[in-house]
């Protein structure tokens, strides 16, 4: 299946065609360079229970193996039971009694054999898909963490809840220290919840804003070359209908802006009223005596007035990034993002604008006129990139960084996206516990004030965690996950914690919602339904892809899906 002719796609490009259109070769490379760790249960949930079936994690891995993740590790001490076969598609009859990690791993690997096959020679790193042998798998995750090299091999950790605190806490703390993102998931009956823990500063350059909002045409502060092009267009009136009907709308707007300024004391339209007046002014200049009774380019100009006649302004999210400590005070350890951000901030303080993205929307125009206008935008954008690059190179020298020089294409991509960069301030996996952070508790209380909020589902899974933690951490505990007394005590404990910072008692609606959520959750006795686990596996993989490719916007930080009422919500907890 090699490329059949020159310039055509390779078989790998053909296989991944539908996803490359979303995250491009750079995203694909990041994916192929990443290894994901799945921690799928670390013991039974209690008497008569075989523990978490871990289908969310397995389904998420399926959705990562298919697009070509570099590798994965499954940690799971369980052996395959009948119940597993009813929920986990990546097990078969012959798997009964065998290691669940090994069997799941074997069947997941079948999904993308090319990862190990033909592509090997093309990728930079050998592809590794492996599992730990049985002796290692049955060790609790805490033991695996003893090996300092274990966790850093992974770019992302997915943990299937409920997991006891003594396993969970060291893992998420260690991951946080090493800057490795963590997804902690629950899927019980019709409910699924998951939280994403990102590093304290998680920058994204390629946020993929919609093309419309990414446009920056600079009509109110054109640079000299754009002004010159416009000046060449001094006499619209003497043009014949054909020429007149093909003047690009950007030039139409620039032209009439000049006229407007002359009659308005040198000022461009400033407020909504003036802009609508200006719009009518432009509209009145269209020729209507032609065959079509109007001109498309003028229609485009009129439609663009309100969007494009606005002074440059820095989005507040970008302003905040410029104000961050990491952006100001660079040191030899500063990562690429902050170095470029610093250089761009310097550009902004010098020019009062960000580097020009340089893209031009399509508009009615003759081919050659459009292309030359496009070149004016492209040339300016290229010059801005050069200026930023020079600053970056100076900084690199000054800081005496030990990293390799920042690739030109990264600086270019940053300049193109400068108006839409984003820094997520990651938070720890939220928990309702005595050492919960007050922000978490406050956000939950606020949510509980909304009558239809699904935060009650999150609270119910926290109670489940408490119940399971007590069962698992007490040796020889014969209580089951159905133990009413256990549920009662943990419900009371969690409800008390919710009033720790705000002693106002929970109102009856909030209590009712929490009790219903607990009731629905307990209906499943900790078991997964395949549909809900698969749905959550889709969402968890989606977030994983965004985190690994550093593109689009990841969840910040908790999502609840309620399959009983077919709804989801997101919270920052």
């Amino acid at each position: 299946m090699a490329a059949s002719f020159h310039g055509g796609p390779t078989s790998k490009e053909r296989k991944y065609d539908r996803q490359l259109r979303l995250w491009a070769a750079s995203g694909q490379q990041a994916l192929e360079d990443s290894r994901v760790l799945l921690v799928n249960s670390d013991g039974p949930l209690g008497a008569n229970s075989t523990g978490v079936s871990g289908v969310v994690g397995v389904e998420a891995l399926k959705n990562l193996v298919l697009p070509g993740i570099g590798g994965f590790t499954i940690v799971d001490p369980a052996t395959v039971t009948e119940a597993d076969l009813g929920v986990n598609f990546f097990l078969e009859e012959e798997s009964l009694g065998k290691s669940r990690a090994e069997e799941t791993c074997r069947l997941l690997r079948e999904l993308n054999p090319d990862v190990k096959g033909d592509f090997n020679s093309e990728v930079r790193q050998p592809q590794r898909v492996e599992i730990f042998d049985l002796t290692l798998i049955i060790q609790p995750i805490a033991d695996l963490l003893q090996d300092p090299d274990f966790l850093p091999q992974h770019k992302l950790v997915i943990i299937s809840g409920p997991t006891k605190r003594s396993s969970l806490d060291p893992l998420i703390q260690r991951a946080q220290k090493q800057g490795i993102p963590v997804l902690y998931t629950h899927s019980v009956g019709f409910f699924a919840t998951f939280s994403l823990q990102l590093p304290a500063e998680y920058p994204i350059v390629e946020t993929h804003p919609d093309p419309e909002s990414a446009q920056d045409l600079r009509l109110l502060n054109p640079w000299p070359e754009l002004v010159a092009t416009n000046a060449a267009l001094d006499d619209l009136d003497s043009m014949d209908d054909h020429q007149h009907g093909h003047v690009p709308y950007i030039l139409i707007l620039l032209h009439f802006l000049e006229q407007w300024k002359q009659s308005h004391g040198g000022n461009a339209p400033d407020n909504y009223k003036e802009k609508t007046e200006f719009r009518e002014f432009v509209r009145s200049k269209a020729r209507t005596s032609n065959a079509e009774g109007g001109e498309e380019n003028f229609d485009e100009a009129v439609a663009a007035v309100l969007k494009t006649i606005a002074p440059f302004s820095l989005r507040s999210t970008v302003r905040e990034i410029f104000e961050l400590e990491q952006c100001h005070n660079l040191n030899s350890e500063s990562v690429d993002f902050w170095l470029i951000a610093h250089a761009i901030h310097f550009f902004y303080t010098t020019h009062g604008v960000l580097p020009l993205p340089g893209s031009l929307p399509d508009m009615k125009a003759q081919s050659a006129d459009y292309v030359s206008l496009q070149n004016i935008y492209k040339t300016k954008a290229r010059r801005d990139v050069e200026e930023v690059t020079n600053t970056v190179r100076q900084l690199e020298t000054q800081l005496e960084r030990r990293f390799p020089p920042i690739p030109d294409r990264d600086i270019e991509a940053f300049c193109k996206n400068a108006a839409h960069i984003k820094v997520v301030h990651g938070r720890q996996i939220p928990q309702i516990s005595s050492n919960s952070d007050s922000i978490t508790l406050k956000a939950i209380r606020t949510q509980l004030g909304f009558p239809d909020s699904l935060v009650s589902v999150f609270i119910a899974t926290q109670i489940l965690d408490g119940v399971v933690d007590e069962i698992q951490d007490t040796s020889n505990d014969h209580r089951s996950i159905n133990d009413d007394a256990l549920w009662k005590s943990h419900t009371e404990r969690i409800l008390a914690l919710l009033t720790r910072d705000d002693p106002t008692p929970l109102d009856s609606d909030a209590r009712e919602n929490i009790h219903k959520a607990i009731q629905e959750l307990r209906r499943a006795e900790g078991g997964e339904l395949h549909n809900i686990a698969s749905l959550a596996g889709g969402l968890v993989a989606q977030e994983s892809l965004k985190v690994i490719t550093k593109q689009y916007g990841p969840l910040d930080n908790t999502c609840v899906f309620d399959g009983a009422r077919s709804r989801s919500e997101m919270y920052r907890l």
Partner: protein
């Protein structure tokens, strides 16, 4: 360790059976959980339309939701570009029919499920075929096919037979976005009612393509639509033929050079001529699972079903919006259900038209009418009027069959009427 005894079955489905044998706080109060519900689930015959990105997930999910009798229709064969998400297919399956490979895979993996594939078009099948299913679930990428199954299922609803109501669960994805919806034919908003929610892809004026291209896409469209017609009139363009695509690619490159337009790539050429929509496993998993979750709830009543639309956008966190799309009273499909009309097969078409003017629901003064096969009487344009005028004197049984549908439109009404004519004996 293969065992088929009841005990092993019970163990296998223990998680699922928990929610089928116990009520929950959101369940309908009248619902009776237990064995009857489990039997209802196991005896529900389900039809899956499409064995692609959504279809593969749907088949897996239904099999692991305890359904035992599943049918799947798909006319396509497996292509290499399917393998990044259609996880039931392997490299060695390329070229084989999707429905057959998918059915065989899931049947082998999940013990006790029977999956019957049909390789072909949904339009090959008639109402008798669709009548055998309890629920129909769609994972399609074509609006046309959705509209067809929608109107077929609506047309099948028989007022006297509740079993003729086939809930239609539809899923669709594009990149990081998707939607799931539940349609109860004739009872709730249908695909046709919601048609304006899918904006058609913006098209570029043909004259721009022909004379003033500005974008690489314009060059590709020119090569595809104009140059091909001129230069290779005798070859039917096939977007799956690599030689054809590369011809278009090279022609587009050439045109780009001529107009100084950069950026024509092979990938873009394929995208433009095949109208490729980005697709990934994770979005498909999310949407497919939400549709099958609704199927499980509808088949068992173990929780309320979606009323009636959930949209998902995953570019920025996890965003979903669940709402009730409205049923349009003037919907051309569900707004004018066929009424039964008893007629004398020996009366003429002229008499029949006369009688329509006396019907209570609409005094039709100037109707035009047809069946699926025949133009019965068309008042305008004149050529059709002349041709169909002789039909007015013909007897009904010479023109229509007993039970056939006659559709009537009249300029006095903005909606059309459908009648199912029943011959009186």
């Amino acid at each position: 360790m293969i065992s088929t005894d009841a005990n092993s079955q019970q163990n296998r489905w223990k998680h699922l059976h928990k929610v089928l044998t116990k009520s929950g706080p959101y369940c309908d109060e009248d619902w009776v959980p237990g064995q009857e519900t489990i039997s209802a689930l196991e005896s529900s015959k389900i039809l899956v339309i499409g064995a692609g990105g959504l279809g593969c997930e749907i088949l897996k999910n239904l099999a692991l939701s305890g359904f035992k009798d599943i049918h799947v229709i798909d006319m396509d064969t497996i292509d290499i570009s399917n393998l990044n998400r259609q996880f039931l297919f392997r490299q060695s399956d390329i070229g084989k029919p999707k429905a057959e490979v998918a059915a065989a895979f899931v049947e082998k993996r999940v013990k006790g499920v029977k999956i019957t594939p049909y390789v072909g078009k949904i339009q090959d099948k008639d109402e008798d075929y669709y009548m055998q299913f309890k629920i129909v679930i769609c994972g399609l990428d074509s609006i046309e096919a959705r509209r067809w199954i929608n109107s077929t299922l609506i047309g099948m609803v028989d007022m006297e037979d509740p079993e003729s109501l086939k809930p239609l669960i539809d899923g669709g994805t594009e990149g990081f976005k998707g939607q799931a919806r539940v349609i109860l034919p004739t009872l709730s908003s249908c695909i046709e009612c919601q048609l304006d929610m899918h904006a058609p892809r913006p098209a570029v004026p043909l004259c721009t393509i022909a004379t003033i291209p500005r974008q690489p896409q314009h060059c590709i469209e020119w090569a595809h639509q104009i140059a091909w017609q001129e230069k290779r009139k005798d070859d039917a363009f096939d977007s799956d033929d690599m030689e054809h695509i590369s011809w278009v690619y090279n022609a587009a490159l050439e045109r780009g050079k001529q107009f100084d337009i950069h950026g024509v790539t092979f990938q873009m050429t394929q995208g433009v001529v095949k109208n490729i929509i980005p697709a990934i496993a994770s979005t498909n998993a999310m949407i497919a699972a939400s549709t099958t979750s609704e199927v499980l709830k509808i088949a068992t009543s173990c929780n309320p079903y979606l009323e009636n639309y959930m949209m998902y956008a995953g570019e920025e966190g996890v965003y979903t919006y669940t709402f009730e799309a409205e049923k349009k009273p003037d919907c051309p499909v569900c707004g004018n259900l066929a009424r039964k009309l008893k007629v004398d097969p020996n009366s003429t078409l002229g008499d029949f038209i006369e009688s329509l003017s006396e019907r209570a629901e609409a005094q039709l003064k100037k109707p035009s009418l047809r069946t699926e096969e025949k133009t019965l009487y068309q008042r305008f344009p004149p050529q059709l009027e002349e041709h169909t005028r002789p039909n007015l004197g013909l007897k009904l049984h010479e023109l229509v069959e007993d039970g056939e549908e006659v559709a009537v439109s009249d300029p006095a009404y903005t909606i059309d009427f459908r009648y199912k004519v029943i011959f009186s004996k």
